[in-house]
Amino acid sequence: MKTVIIKYNAGNIQSVLFALERIGVQATVTDDPALIRAADKVIFPGVGEASTAMHYLRGRELDKLIISLQQPVLGICLGMQLLCAYSAENNTHCLGVFNNVEVHRFRNEGTPFKVPQTGWNSIQQLKGPLFNQVDEQAFCYFVHSYYAELNDCTVACADYIHPYSAALQHNNFYGVQFHPEKSATAGEQILKNFLSL
């Protein structure tokens, strides 16, 4: 099985590589369209800022490539948000795989909540193959200031200030707001589930 991690300008992908290594999977980090197209599984990671990342993807036509992929694709954190239609982070039009889904900033004015949300939060209302053998209320590690609202693609919810989407799925596209590569055994199970789709 060939697993690729899409290489672009959004942050540190080493953690993902190490997590895959811990579950016995060697992945290739690449921005080569042919390699990405030929892969069995594609991981689209990312931390950082939405408009800069989208600008980079468009400049290399990786945007068109990503939305045309037929194999299972997993967006992680910013990767998930970029698969949505729009992000309020610098008013960015994103890839639109999760059609009509918008990403907004957590509003913590007048609350004791901090932004970004940083740490372990539970996920619930788990649906679909990504969460096989993952417990309702399993804890995952999150770091984010922007969130995807609840919508028809939501396959896991979390609650911070209000409920929001912890994971999304549409056809072969999956997205998780948390970092499975840093989420202990629950995260490892989710990565294994994705790789065995």
Partner: protein, 251 residues
């Protein structure tokens, strides 16, 4: 619900874990990778590795050790000690660190925080502040606590947050190693002053101390070293206790 984090800290010297009192009198506490794996199993939420000799001896944190840790543990970890520039950070992140912490180098040149957050994202930039009460007010001290400054700890935390730090790791040098409890006043003051998470450090000696720092000082996470190393407080027992006190924790 977002949980409060329990973070064991491993002070590293010459590739071994050590822990002293008030940053002096080092005691050997074992192999860092072995300890890190034990903490993962016991339910630690995150780990911090500080190369405590790095600043003084101008020695870089060993990238090889970081790589070894990254291949063995599945929770986030931070590496600090002697980080002066973007290249130092890149080396650690490339070897699998999730976050880095800066302390003295950021006091010397605050722009470092901007540069690191721009390059790698705020989520991986932890500003460590060592604070000491001097003439009744909390001031920043550098070089492992040996050099006092005129900088107010709270003002520095606010400035760091503005410059793009993702978290504040606040250590009270008064409390560190004493086991008399965290510095609740300055922890609470800083936690209320910034919108980024504050990790409280220095002084943990009992279960109650952790409950106090979460409830009375609104800390987002609490860090300790020797009480975990020597199993004086097992992490699982601490988390059960906090849960009984209605404090959300990951169990």
């Amino acid at each position: 619900m977002l949980t409060k984090r329990i973070i064991p800290c491993l002070d590293i010297k010459d590739g071994r874990t050590v822990k002293g009192t008030n940053f002096l009198e080092l005691r050997d506490a074992g192999d860092p990778v072995e300890l890190a794996m034990r903490y993962c199993e016991e339910g630690a939420d995150e780990l911090v590795f500080l190369d405590i000799t790095a600043t003084t001896e101008k020695r870089k944190t060993l990238a090889g050790l970081v790589r070894k840790i990254a291949t063995h543990i599945n929770i986030p970890f931070t590496v600090g000690g002697g980080i002066n520039n973007v290249e130092d950070v890149r080396l650690l992140l490339d070897n699998g660190a999730d976050k880095i912490s800066v302390n003295t180098s950021a006091v010397r040149r605050p722009e470092l925080i901007n540069e690191l957050s721009l390059q790698f994202g705020s989520q991986c930039v932890v500003l460590a502040i060592d604070a000491k009460r001097i003439d009744g007010s909390w001031k920043v001290v550098t070089h492992g606590g040996r050099t006092p400054t005129l900088l107010s700890a709270t003002d520095w935390a606010k400035e760091a947050a503005k410059r793009g730090a993702g978290e504040i790791l606040l250590t009270s040098m008064e409390n560190d190693g004493t086991k008399n409890g965290f510095a609740l006043d300055i922890t609470g003051e800083i936690s209320r002053s910034v919108s980024i998470p504050v990790i409280a450090s220095g002084g943990a000696g009992s279960l109650q101390h952790f409950a106090d720092v979460f409830i009375k000082a609104q800390a987002d996470a609490a860090l300790a070293a020797s009480i975990f190393h020597f199993r004086e407080i097992p992490i699982a027992e601490l988390k059960r206790y906090l849960q009984e006190q209605q404090i959300p924790v990951r169990i």
